[in-house]
Amino acid sequence: MKIVGVAACTVGIAHTYIAQEKLENAAKKAGYDIHVETQGTIGIENKLTQEQIDAADVVILAVDVKISGRERFEGKKIVQVPTEVAVKSPNKLIQKVTEVVEAQ
């Protein structure tokens, strides 16, 4: 499975990046391909390419704030959670995402 995601928290200093790391590790553990863009104080990093978005089976938005470029994901399956969920239970989140994709 291919996943793209965006992580963004309120202050944009800490939770954003912790969520990114946890999501990447959990997805890799499940054998999935994942790219996570971060939108923080420093700006957008690891920006998703159109190819990555097109190829993705699902989009994970681990966000506490309005993100920029949300329209890029129009028409795709989106699972949106607060960053807390990605930080607290990344493996459970990936499992849920798997169920969402397989349910189609």
Partner: protein, 149 residues
């Protein structure tokens, strides 16, 4: 550019022995002001507590990441305390914390992009269970820094 460049041994207390969140933050703020990272302890603490009100900063695994963007920060830095015992903290896993990592970031960061980049890479490492395990075992500032390299 290495993540550990953002760390300063003078800001690390590896043998902290406090019982409350308030005491932990006081200890770490004192380190920040003693070493010239912040200009006003009370002002900075107010901004940190404002962030505490917005949501839990305990991220599980006995780690808390209180932080504030504050006008009272002169230099971007991270103060780290490793406490002997677990202290109560609002955490995602509803447990206490032993490792407290206090982020100090200024409001104006036009000249600070490189530091912010390092800080983001540092934060990322806190999402890694192995790094956290090493961190909590550390008994000296050098070991704390080593955990992130």
């Amino acid at each position: 550019m290495e993540v550990k460049e953002i760390l300063d041994a003078n800001l690390i207390k590896s043998d902290m022995s406090v019982a409350t969140k308030e005491e932990a933050l006081n200890t770490l703020c004192q380190k920040l002001i003693d070493n010239g990272y912040i200009s006003d302890v009370e002002g900075f603490k107010k901004d940190v507590y404002a962030r505490e009100k917005e949501g839990k900063t305990g991220i599980g695994n006995f780690i808390a990441i209180p932080h504030g963007k504050s006008e009272h920060v002169d230099n971007i830095g991270v103060a780290i305390g490793i406490n002997e015992t677990e202290i109560p903290w609002e955490s995602l896993d509803d447990r206490g914390v032993k490792g407290i990592i206090l982020f100090a970031v200024g409001n104006d960061h036009e000249d600070a992009n490189q530091h912010l980049k390092l800080l983001s890479l540092f934060a990322r490492k806190l999402g890694n269970d192995e790094v956290v395990e090493e961190l909590l075992k550390s008994t000296s500032p050098e070991e704390v820094i080593q955990a992130f390299s």
